[in-house]
């Protein structure tokens, strides 16, 4: 089977700091893969490399076998990679409907009328549970709602792969449960492959089939949750080894 999204020896440094060092990964159709690691281990940097915000300096990233690492963020989005941000970034001074419309316009599908687009945007809002909120300003939403709005905006670009950056951070237990249902719905109903960074360990360990662990810009482990959890290198990275 060919991977949907693949990274080959992806490296990126900032000044003298090696933020990513020869990281390779593969995501297969319909999978949900967790990406974990201590703070500063390069998780968000990897997402920024994939989405073209800070492209890799070495190595290659492929979507459906096609190289994307030389493309601009908007081109990568149009090829089928959506993302949400660690610190939510909806368009605060625009309504929920407009936020989602940006994603639809961004995907740039010719021939759809304004009415069809609005209809599609309303469906996306409905899907993430923001049905009645379409004319509220994004800035007035709760954190959970903002995160859901970001998801709706990302889904509006009809991604094949969705990168989630700490969607659960800052949510209370019942909100976490809601968000988990949403992620599962996106994977199953929308048939989107998910690459997911998270610090809420319990959640990511139960939801993901496979976990990739980064530490100081390097991949130190990969495998099913149980295997990763008992991996001595992972434990050392999180708790600090003898040399730390």
């Amino acid at each position: 089977m060919k991977p949907v999204l693949e990274g080959r020896d992806v490296s990126r440094s900032f000044g003298g700091l090696m933020a990513l060092h020869r990281v390779s990964f593969q995501l297969f159709e319909g999978e949900i893969v967790g990406l974990i690691g201590p703070n500063g281990s390069g998780k968000t940097t990897l997402f920024n490399a994939i989405t073209g915000v800070f492209p890799p300096q070495e190595g290659e990233i492929l979507l459906d076998g096609k190289p994307i690492s030389r493309l601009k963020p908007f081109q990568i989005c149009r090829m089928g990679i959506g993302r949400t941000f660690q610190i939510v970034r909806p368009f605060l001074k625009m309504t929920c409907l407009e936020n989602v419309l940006v994603g639809i316009v961004g995907k740039d599908e010719k021939g759809t009328s304004r009415e069809e687009r609005v209809e599609q945007a309303l469906l996306e809002l409905e899907f993430v549970g923001l049905g009645g909120q379409s004319h509220r300003l994004a800035g007035s939403l709760t954190l959970l709602q903002k995160k859901m709005l970001e998801l709706a905006r990302a889904l509006a670009t009809r991604p094949r792969v969705l990168l989630l950056d700490e969607v659960l951070a800052g949510l209370n237990p019942s909100e976490i449960l809601q968000a988990l249902h949403m992620i599962e719905a996106i994977r199953v109903k929308r048939k989107v492959t998910i690459f997911w960074v998270e610090h809420v360990m319990g959640a990511i360990m139960t939801a993901c089939q496979r976990i990739i662990v980064l530490d100081q810009g390097r991949k130190i482990a990969e495998g099913p949750p149980d295997e990763v959890r008992s991996n001595p290198r992972v434990i050392e990275a999180y708790l600090g080894g003898a040399d730390a």
């Binding site: 989405t51 915000v53 601009k72 963020p73 908007f74 990568i76 989005c77 149009r78 959506g82 993302r83 941000f85 970034r89 909806p90 368009f91 605060l92 001074k93 625009m94 407009e98 419309l101 940006v102 994603g103 316009v105 961004g106 995907k107 740039d108 905006r153 990302a154 509006a156 670009t157």
Partner: protein, 301 residues
């Protein structure tokens, strides 16, 4: 309610020439020029967050292109103004292409430089432009009438505003606002941010060229004051005081400040200083300008 209000404003605008004397009619015409200038500047500064200082310069491009074509080539002002609009648009595309990727303060500095270069060229190429003495150019109408000019300016301004409104309500306008709100989020949502900003810059420059061309043929004397920084800051003050990023703000700001500046004209160039100070205070304490203040007061009631 909103429709009725607009219809009322329109009716007043049509009746204006029958109530104002020649002097105040002149002020009304000039304020329509500033409505076009401040609104189109708002398109880049207010809607995509790029503070350009070349806006008056593009008006100068429009005025001198059309004026010189008419004077040396015998081209009809209507065609000349179109040529000036296009040239301003092309120069805007070129200048934008150069500095839009840099963004922020670099864009402001580059446009400031462009503006000064243009003013210096116009001032010094005396054999063509007659420098600071000003160039006398033909008017639009064969018989001079302020009322005719007023209606011409009104028609063009209205067409201009309708066009801008449609642009802002289109997908392009949505993209403008997305870029202003959050450039990174816009780019990862599939918006080509560089192209969007370049489009805003180019169309806004062309609009300034159009306004400048009309303005020149109304005054029938064009001087390097049109592309000057003093003019630029007046336009900036109008947009900021009226309310940047809102559609009505720059319109209200332009009319209010132009009429006000007639009352305080006796203090000479000091009116610019006053406007600068007011703009500073507004930018600090009421960033959404007069329109924003009005909305706040309205909501509190």
């Amino acid at each position: 309610m909103k429709r009725a209000g607009l219809a009322g404003v329109f009716l007043i605008a049509i009746l204006v020439p029958f109530f104002l004397n020649q002097y105040w009619l002149h002020v009304a015409i000039i304020s329509l020029f500033y409505v076009m200038m401040a609104s189109s500047w708002n398109l880049i500064a207010g809607y995509t967050g790029q503070v350009s200082f070349a806006h008056a310069a593009f008006a100068g491009v429009g005025a001198y292109t059309s004026g010189m074509l008419a004077l040396y080539g015998g081209v009809h002002p209507a065609l000349g103004i179109i040529a000036g609009t296009l040239l301003a648009g092309v120069l805007g595309l070129g200048l934008g292409g150069l500095c839009i990727r840099m963004g922020g303060i670099y864009l402001s500095l580059t446009t400031l430089g462009f503006s000064e270069i243009l003013r210096i060229i116009i001032t010094n190429e005396e054999q063509w432009t007659r420098g600071t003495m000003g160039l006398q150019i033909p008017g639009v109408f064969s018989v001079y009438s302020k009322t005719h000019y007023y209606f011409l300016f009104l028609a063009v301004t209205l067409a201009f505003l309708v066009l801008m409104r449609r642009l802002l309500n289109s997908d392009t306008g949505l993209a403008f606002r997305a870029v202003l709100n959050d450039e990174l989020a816009a780019s990862t949502s599939g918006i080509d941010t560089v192209r969007v900003r370049l489009m805003a810059f180019t169309s806004s420059s062309a609009m300034a060229g159009l306004a400048g061309g009309l303005y020149g043929h109304y005054l029938m004397l064009i001087t390097p004051d049109i592309p000057s920084l003093g003019q630029m800051f007046l336009v900036l003050a109008m947009a900021v005081i009226g309310g940047m990023g809102s559609f009505a703000g720059p319109i209200i700001g332009a009319i209010a400040l132009e009429f006000l500046s007639e009352y305080i004209r006796i203090y000479g160039e000091y009116h610019l200083l006053l406007f600068g100070l007011v703009a500073l205070v507004i930018a600090r304490f009421a960033p959404s300008g007069m329109v924003g203040l009005w909305e706040k007061i309205w909501r509190r009631r």
